[in-house]
Amino acid sequence: MDIDRIDQIIDKHHGEASSLIQVLLDIQSEHHWLPKEALDRVGEKLQVPLSRIQHIATFYKAFSLVPKGRHEVHICVGTACHVRGATRILDTVEEATGIKPGETDLDLKYSLETVNCLGCCALGPVLEVDGKVHGKMSPVKTADVLKNYE
């Protein structure tokens, strides 16, 4: 991890304690997780105790204290997607990646999560990879989508 890069992110937010969450979000989106050294640095520079940072970093689901894969796969299992066959999509992804929801594979390629509604029920079942929505999924289409990621 590059401490200078962390410093840049902190400086971008003018090193203000009130920007703590923004700083953490930026680090999270760049590294896909919040490494301990980064948190130490943020605490030191923003003058926020580590106990507080830890509380925030564990409170929001957007943050992760363990490394996440390069690609974040979200599968909607909300009611609409569920009745349209989300379970089969989930099974396909689990089989293709070898991981279950909440897990990351050893190559740090994928992290898998289920979500309870992505807000586009008409497109169900929905699969989201790195923020891009893939609607009206079938197991075959799901496998095809995953092939596009390295």
Binding site: P49, L50, S51, R52, Q54, T58, F59
Partner: protein, 203 residues
């Protein structure tokens, strides 16, 4: 600061602006049970045991007295059938987490709470935040904090800080209404930093 007159349990009480109902009651020697309140700490309002009835212009509402600021002419009732019932349920819920806490047991006796009403979920910590807030606000060491949220919320020591500060301080230990804080410390110590040399002498 302007003076505010209010009534608590039928007694006229003088308070100043910005004071909480709890503080006003205490100044008039009217007891309200508390679990998460501490005079040296900012009001927190976590345990809800200090709930009281407040009547404002004929309307009665339930408020948490340790965070509710006094207002002119309000009528406060610190005990009623309803309040006792609420406190009883709160205690029963807390007792599911920490059935052997002496503080909870004493209150349970007073409010007739049954410690076996809810299925036990022994997390031991009742999230009063006394340890976390004392460490942040009074000793300013920030060696302990909360992590996670909802039903998974728990306290967690920061090993780097705790290993340096806690052995000489431990001021938060007696504040904990359960014994969890001490247990959590011992566990952190066993897992994350070595036991101090001098303590071996006693065995």
């Amino acid at each position: 600061m302007s003076e505010i007159l209010l009534q608590i349990d039928g007694k006229e009480v003088k308070a100043t602006e910005g004071m909480t109902v709890l503080a006003a009651a205490q100044s008039a020697e009217i007891a309200i049970p508390t679990l998460c309140h501490h005079e040296k700490l900012e009001p927190f309002g976590a345990c809800r045991i200090c709930i009281v009835e407040v009547e404002v212009r004929g309307w009665t509402k339930l408020v948490v007295s340790c965070v509710y600021p006094v207002e002119e002419n309000i009528i406060v009732r610190t005990r009623s059938e309803k309040i006792d019932r609420i406190r009883k349920t709160i205690l029963e819920l807390l007792l599911a987490h920490a059935p052997d806490s002496p503080e909870l047991q004493a209150l349970a006796g007073e409010y007739g709470a049954d410690k076996d009403r809810f299925e036990k979920e022994a997390s031991f910590c009742i999230h009063c935040g006394l340890c976390v807030r004392y460490c942040a606000e009074v000793t300013k060491k920030n060696a302990i904090g909360f992590v996670d949220r909802g039903i998974r919320k728990e306290i967690s020591f920061i090993p780097e800080i705790a290993s340096k500060e806690c052995n000489d301080c431990k001021e938060c230990f007696p504040l904990c209404p359960t014994s969890y804080l001490q247990a959590a410390f011992v566990l952190t110590q066993a897992l994350a930093f070595p036991y101090p040399q001098q303590s071996y002498g006693d065995c």
